[in-house]
Symmetry: C2
Subunit: 358 residues, 2 copies
């Protein structure tokens, strides 16, 4: 059925575009089977070496070429999840040209493959009420531009209604975009599912674009002076710190710590996922830091650091944990297996969402 | 400034990802200059021929290689617009790996370049109130799945308010997705600008996903039985035909004609942009078609066909025009220069939006 669909699309497309007729023949890739094996295919008759670089593999694996110049590899028994992958063609990494599901990122070119499995996962599309994701344009006084952010509103949300909502500000990784938590992290489906299971308070989840270019130090100002006011002006959001959380991954995890601890009056929940803290901003805030721990512990209802044991930032995060403990800041840790990946990222988010605003 | 920003991003990223360290060196591409020239760059030390395939060119143009293996070409004096392009590397078309602005499409891999120019265009980000785009999941009884559609709501829209809105259902091209009118067509900015200029009635614009795979004939049912009811259940939409329009491009233009003329009681506005009509569905409806022209002309407040003279469907659309005229259906045509492109598509949309619901 899937094959027939694709053939029809190809035929329709061939009629429509002159350039399409010069296109390489179509291959089905990735080809996920019910037994959770995946076949990857890539047409490159002149390539010498084609490798699969996938986040379910420990190392890159070679594809083999057939007589038509199509390279392929089948990997069995993959644990259900959504994985980034790319092909390394004679040393150059390229996304899978036959896969339209791309990783939203400004630097690397990963495709994504969704191994659905037999049991619904927390990020799976399930038969539950769905919230929505809105793309909003807002003026940033800090940056002097109009910028885009995404807002998740839960099922049943009514902008003009009387019900008010708490707000989570959720920051992407270093070269990600404001779309990554939606397109790769499936934040909307995770929230829909947790809300349907009564495990999570319905909330707004705001995903700004954290890349501010040259002036990295201004992002905290952008959040406090532009993003939060825009949300509070345009959504029925609670405006007290008890109803405001911040979380982020990687560079966004570092930004979460920077923003959270320089604005302890504004956020009662600070959740850093595999935070990258080797930044001037972090050093500026936390070197010779002399916090009023009792006051901070009173203000923070939850402060959590999450990390995978294979994450290249594991040792760094362990040092962060030591530092915060030395300063007597009460914190909660989630240490799991896995690396610096969006598979882990979804896990961290699904772990903290049920703990917010309760 | 732009260069510095990118260098910082690269440095930050290099620290963050092991695989990043194996990445090819970064090149700035596309590099748009204030004089509306663009330099395109592509690293491929081992490639024999690299061509630029861009929709502002009449034919593919060769890039030249420098000693580092970086290929480049500079094209001067490009008319401000948003253009798809790709590189053809030893015969294979690839998107620009240094450009994150990608064409939302299921088959081809075009990058996009935005030549902003000095004067704001109708699709430019301007200093006006902005509406929003929402991604919605809805259940399709017709297809038995949960599907995604996009909804534009105009500035000042309040879901729970008393004000009701007319609705335009807007269909993408054959291998496009429900995102293409937003990401490539800039429907939200075009509408924001036209509304700010008081040229257009504030309306909802609904963008469903028109690719239904094998059963192409069911898309009209999907629109009528699933999409329209979902919108009417979830938005303050007028529900009479005088406040309902349908428009679409290419395959979506053909679907627009199919849906519009099989449901003349449901749509008062039918706008087909470069429609592709060599389909079984179109033949089934319009071969030996014996319409009550007087009745249709009374129901339709606007029926328009738009086409570019260089469009590969120009002759086909001329035949469509003859056919509708022979049947005494009142129609309006917009015949302009240009081809089967999204540059023209934006023009067609900007031309019809001011004519709806007046």
């Amino acid at each position: 059925m899937k094959t027939i669909t694709y053939i029809i699309l190809i035929l329709a497309y061939s009629c429509l575009s002159a350039s399409a007729q010069q296109r390489a023949p179509y291959l089905i890739s990735p080809d996920v089977q019910p037994d959770n094996s995946i076949t990857f295919r890539f047409l490159a008759p002149n390539a010498k070496v084609v490798l699969l670089d996938a986040q379910f593999l420990d190392k890159k694996e070679p594809l083999t070429k057939d007589a038509s110049g199509a390279w392929s590899i089948t990997v069995p028994n993959i644990k259900p999840d959504i994985y980034p992958y790319c092909f390394v063609v004679d040393g150059n990494s390229v996304a899978d040209p036959n896969n339209t599901y791309l990783f939203a990122n400004e630097r690397f070119k990963f495709s994504l493959v969704d191994v659905v499995g037999n049991e619904p996962l927390i990020h799976s599309l399930q038969n539950v009420p769905h919230g929505k994701i809105s793309y909003r344009l807002y003026k940033s006084g800090t940056l002097g531009t109009t910028r885009q952010l995404l807002v998740y509103t839960p099922p049943g949300f009514a902008a003009g209604g009387k019900k008010k909502y708490p707000v989570l500000y959720l920051i992407h990784g270093g070269s990600d975009t404001e779309e990554t938590w939606f397109k790769v992290g499936r934040v909307n489906l995770i929230a829909d599912n947790l809300i349907a299971q009564h495990k999570m308070v319905p909330m707004l989840i705001v995903m700004p674009y954290a890349n501010v270019g040259f002036r990295k130090d201004v992002f905290p100002k952008e959040v406090v002076n532009d993003v939060i006011p825009f949300i509070q002006d345009n959504y029925p959001a609670y405006t007290d710190s008890r109803n405001r959380a911040i979380a982020g991954f990687s560079v966004g995890g570092g930004q979460t710590l920077d923003i959270g601890f320089t604005n302890p009056d504004k956020f009662s929940y600070v959740c850093a996922y595999a935070p990258y803290t080797a930044t001037d901003e972090f050093k500026g805030i936390f070197t010779n830091w002399n916090p009023d721990a009792a006051q901070i512990n009173k203000q923070l209802k939850l402060f959590t650091l999450s990390i995978g044991k294979s994450d290249f930032l594991y040792e760094s995060v362990k040092q962060n944990i030591v530092m915060f403990k030395e300063k007597n800041i009460k914190l909660d840790t989630l240490i799991v297996s896995g690396g610096h990946t969006w598979m882990n990222c979804k896990l961290y988010l699904a772990n903290t969402l049920p703990r917010l605003f309760k």
